[in-house]
Subunit: 227 residues, 2 copies
Amino acid sequence: MTATTMRSKGERTKDLILTTAISMFQKMGYESTTMRAIALASGVALGNAYYYFQSKEHLVLALYERTLNDQWAACKPVLLSSRSMKKRLAGVLHAQLGALTPYREVLHSLFRFGADPTSPLSPFAPESAAIREGAKGLFQNVVAGSQEKISTDIGDALPYCLWLYHMGIVFFWLHDSSTGQNKTTKLIDLTSDLIVSFILLNSLPLFKPFRRTLLKLIEEFRLDNAA
Amino acid sequence: MTATTMRSKGERTKDLILTTAISMFQKMGYESTTMRAIALASGVALGNAYYYFQSKEHLVLALYERTLNDQWAACKPVLLSSRSMKKRLAGVLHAQLGALTPYREVLHSLFRFGADPTSPLSPFAPESAAIREGAKGLFQNVVAGSQEKISTDIGDALPYCLWLYHMGIVFFWLHDSSTGQNKTTKLIDLTSDLIVSFILLNSLPLFKPFRRTLLKLIEEFRLDNAA
């Protein structure tokens, strides 16, 4: 057996454990699912499961990472197809939720942990910094590839704010019981339009004092543990 | 015994049960506290406790109502002392949190239920409609008593949005571990300033299309189960 196939077997085992865990979290709830039960259902030894994932929290972080990769893949065509900021923002949000759809139930069940900012499962926790940065990168790309001119002082804070907005959309979508989550689709269309209008209005000279206070607020109250 | 003293004894018993329940929710958590334990600790028969509060949820709603009354009392001097919208808004928020301080711990422990919009303990539940209306009334008063002119089409949606903003502030405050919750104080000062600036800018003719989309959004996505 070569090193390459060894690695690939390890990756496959890791994937299997994660897929099993996601399905168990979904069926039995996160709290009731033990590492022992996950290892058993995956057909791997408990020590082996712990080798790949030090704790249940690590499994959740791996789930977040998997959904992030799926989101990037789904957003790529959108980001290549238009230079209008409104179309890019709305398109990315729709594509993200499309990619999250298979995980909707399990994310919903995990959400109550995420709502507590001190939990390592919170989207604002230091533990999930890398995933957060990856998700913010999507919005950085939305802005950077747009044809619209925005005032340069907004630049750095904007991807963060769009990421925060996207967290709100995901929260709404997780609780949206309308057919096919149609209400969320409408919410995205209305709010993305408003937000881009707001960004553009904010770049007008009239807005300078307002923009300054807003940037001060964002800087002082960033929730993403950025430097 | 006259009808009046009968009633007043009833009110006293009801108050005693509520105060006992709040303290037990705080010490042992909402889920671990039973109606039986509350009745026992209050020195009343279980049937008597159920006569006043049909369920634990009713006790939480009564707690919300008590905090609302305390908030109105604390805000009254603020609303009488200034006609500046910024001062009124910031003053009301500071006064509200002051009134909520004795309940901070128990509200924090109840929050995770409130984060699920389908829970009767959610601030958006039909069960808490009356309390929500009472809280929105405070923001109605903030706007109505201000000297600033705002465009009339914003009118109805504004108290609702300010109430939603206040819910965000309360959420932040519940999780604020800075000394004396000083970060929340700063957040109120920065955001109330920004929000009033935003309201006033929104009243400019330049903003008409933006304002229209914003009002449409608010109307379609109100979370407060208003008519």
